[in-house]
């Protein structure tokens, strides 16, 4: 059995930031990631970050990713790519599928940074080819350079829906509309303004009723949406070949459940999530979480949660004195609190505070 001091599952922003922090403090870190390159969703984010007062405003996600990779390499973090963590078993054993074989890695500390997954929306025709998550469409255009279709209907007007709609336009698709069940747009105004200027109509107070097609989506039926119901006789048919669904994300928690970590349903954070303490440690001693698995937020909070976990792990391994560790952690916590200010962040800040105050035992 292979032994490692710290095993980080998932090399996205949280996992890489945590690894860099822990490695700089002297911990031996292994990152396992199922993708062929690390960086998680950052490499899909060709737009500039903004909206938070903290650092990274004005920088593109892809550039943040490049910097993380450089730092990861410089501080000697071991990275296994094309390596999926397929299970976590008793005594902190992580099973990793690598080169077609399952390798068991015994870890002193495990940090889970598995991220989130897109929520599905069920309507007649939802399994037809051409109906996909907005994140999947974003991967196709920004990573794989494949246009998923020519005429796209976006369902959901949050940041993901609106940003991906804009990137689909940039990639050469026609976005025929953005459907939103609520009476107002969910995304930041500056993102919404960009797609509006490009002439994309918003159908507020509307929902998707059905996808029509035989072997592929050909049309979408949308209708007015009131009190949880489609208003009769308001249905419209639009010709589309792609329907993107952007109705939120949820923490990707399978490995945490498998490890026996205590969970709870926290609506503000995307649903069921592993509970953690002020050090990002869960109810299972030595098992930590950071990033979207610990509640869906954004890349900046994910990186800082990762750093927080990284310091806490180094501290618990005795690589850093308690005073120094506490000071570092407080600095990161203050930055997280700053990131969670404003109308979008307040609810998450309150939820996180509630989780930490409750404790994991």
């Amino acid at each position: 059995m292979t032994q490692r001091e710290v095993v980080v599952i998932g090399g996205g922003p949280a996992g890489l930031a945590a690894s860099i922090e822990a490695a700089r403090l002297g911990a031996k870190v292994l990152v396992v990631d199922e993708n062929k390159r690390p960086g998680g969703q950052l490499f899909k984010q060709i737009h500039k970050f903004f909206g938070s007062r903290a650092h990274n405003a004005g920088i593109r996600g892809i550039d943040i990713g490049r910097q993380l990779l450089k730092d990861t390499e410089e501080c000697g973090v071991e990275v296994w790519l094309n390596s999926a963590a397929i299970g976590v078993f008793s005594d902190n054993r992580v099973a990793v599928l690598r080169d077609g074989r399952t390798e068991i890695v015994q870890a002193q500390k495990i940090l889970m940074c598995t991220g989130g997954s897109e929520n599905a929306l069920r309507f007649p025709g939802w399994t037809l080819p051409g109906v996909m998550g907005a994140g999947a469409a974003q991967t196709m255009i920004n990573v794989n350079r494949v246009l998923p279709g020519k005429r796209v209907l976006m369902v959901g007007s949050g940041n993901v829906g609106v940003i991906v709609a804009y990137q689909l336009l940039q990639a050469g698709a026609d976005v025929v509309g953005i459907v939103e069940g609520m009476p107002r747009i969910g995304a930041y105004g500056v993102h919404a303004a960009k797609v509006r200027r490009a002439g994309v109509p918003f159908f507020l107070g509307h929902t998707i009723v059905q996808a029509i097609g035989d072997d592929h989506v050909r049309q979408a039926i949308i209708g007015e949406f009131k009190d949880g119901q489609v208003v009769p006789n308001t249905e419209k048919i639009v010709d589309v070949d792609v329907i993107c669904v952007a109705v939120g994300l949820r923490p990707l928690t399978e490995l945490a459940w498998m490890a026996g970590v205590k969970h709870d349903f926290i609506p503000e954070m995307g649903g069921w999530m592993p509970l953690h303490n002020e050090n990002m440690e869960t109810s299972m001693p030595g098992v930590y979480v950071a990033g979207d698995i610990a509640g869906v937020e954004e890349a900046n909070t994910a990186m800082d949660e990762g750093r927080l976990a990284g310091v806490a792990i180094a501290q618990s391994l005795g690589r850093i004195g308690n005073d120094e560790a506490e000071a570092k952690k407080q600095e990161i916590r203050d930055r997280l609190a700053a990131l969670r200010m404003g109308p979008f962040g307040e609810r998450r800040q309150a939820a996180k505070q509630r989780i930490v105050e409750r404790g994991v035992n």
């Binding site: 299970g87 078993f89 008793s90 054993r93 099973a95 399952t102 068991i104 498998m258 026996g260």
Partner: protein, 393 residues
């Protein structure tokens, strides 16, 4: 004042409890089926669906299993819930010439008991299952074996019993049992049930119920794990398992299989079962690990290693899930289907890995005992007192 008054209170809503409820209700008794959780929430949902005679010992063991197996054809028509009963037979695989010899003797004894078994040579097994490994000396076919959907069977029996008037009193934990004139009062976390008779069908947890009436029931949890494959082309057409399974199950023979230490340590024997959904289940393991039902990677790897030994093609097929359950194990590998020194208190538990297959006959026997009918066969080997007699000696 009890909340319900019935002829028979059945404790434990796994397949044994569901069958006991069904056959009692069918016989005209008023029945309550009680469980702390839902239907088929314990061992019955962590099992495979094999209905086997081939892995029983010659004599009473195989005759009892055969009588139960013979009841499924009718049950599959009687129950309205689809139980996916398929009777394609089963194939034991032998790995060495020594196993061939043991199997031949076993086959003769089983045939003498009336079990439709026959030896197959290397050529015959390869024709039967073309994807088998090329170096296996032969097999042993049991024509009458079959498989079904175990949770479906459980639901089918319980729902049909409800149609016959039985009450499903789920999500209430039995806290104590009082003996009173003419029967019992079963106290639960949500209401009391007065019953003339009580049947302990709680499987692994039967000893907890037994203690409530002062009975010591020698049942222990024996863990088993199963791997689930992705949907594939047909790897094997029917139930296939290694003859060494018998030895792993009974751990009695002096014979030692040529296997790795992890396989030996975890009591792993190859069992393959295609399902109605075009995927397959692979087992099996046997070890004592308390009531732990978390899957362990070492056991999973040992199961996979053993499966690839017999069907090399499995190395290229993905496992999508694994699950673990605990079998109710008795010291002599035989269930307890019996009255007890407490009048009106019966035990139907301890079926180890055979609860699904033995559920119909178990339910029928208990119903006949309670009704005072003559039993369809002598089941004295399953009496509870065999353990107390032993202790007294």
């Amino acid at each position: 004042m009890a909340d319900w008054t019935v002829d028979v209170a059945v404790i434990g809503a796994g397949v044994i409890g569901a069958a006991t409820t069904y056959f009692n209700a069918k016989a005209g008794a008023s029945v309550a089926l009680i469980d702390s959780g839902d239907l088929a929430e314990g061992t019955s949902s962590k099992s495979d669906g094999n209905i086997l005679v081939c892995d029983k010992l010659p004599g009473f063991d195989c005759l009892f299993a055969k009588a139960s197996q013979d009841m499924f054809e009718q049950l599959s028509h009687e129950l309205e819930y689809p139980i996916e009963w398929r009777q394609k037979g089963s194939l034991f695989l032998m790995e060495t010439d020594e196993e061939m010899e043991i199997a031949k003797k076993f086959c003769d004894e089983m045939v003498a008991c009336g079990i439709p078994m026959r030896m197959m040579d290397h050529k015959e097994i390869k024709e039967d299952e073309p994807l088998l490994a090329d170096d296996l000396p032969g097999g042993l076919e049991t024509a009458c074996d079959g498989s079904l959907y175990p949770m479906g069977l459980c639901f089918g029996l319980a729902f049909q019993a409800r149609k016959l008037g039985a009450q499903l009193l789920l999500h209430r934990t039995v806290t104590s049992i009082d003996k009173q004139d003419g029967g019992f009062v079963v106290h639960t976390t949500n209401g009391d049930i007065a019953a003339k008779n009580v049947v302990d069908c709680a499987g692994v947890w039967a000893p907890v119920i037994g203690r409530m009436v002062g009975l010591d029931i020698p049942i222990q949890a024996r863990q088993g794990q199963i791997l689930v494959s992705e949907q594939t082309f047909q790897v094997g057409r029917r139930k296939v398992h290694e003859f060494g399974y018998l030895m792993a199950k009974f751990q009695t023979d002096g014979y030692k299989r040529p296997v790795s230490e992890a396989i030996e340590r975890n009591g792993v024997a190859f069992v393959f079962e295609p399902t109605a959904s075009n995927n397959f289940l692979i087992g099996s393991s046997r070890r004592f690990a308390g009531e732990d039902i978390s899957s362990d990677i070492e056991v999973m790897q040992a199961i996979a290693e053993r499966a690839i030994r017999f069907f090399p093609i499995i190395a290229d097929i993905k496992v999508i899930r694994a699950y673990t359950g605990v079998r109710p194990f008795t010291p002599d590998h035989m269930p307890i289907v019996s009255a007890t020194p407490v009048p009106g208190f019966y035990i139907a538990a301890g079926h180890e890995g055979d609860g699904i297959g033995l559920s119909p006959i178990t339910g029928k026997m208990i119903a006949d005992m309670i009704a005072g009918n003559e039993l369809m066969m002598d089941i004295s080997p399953l009496r509870y007192s065999r353990f107390t007699e032993k202790a007294a000696q």
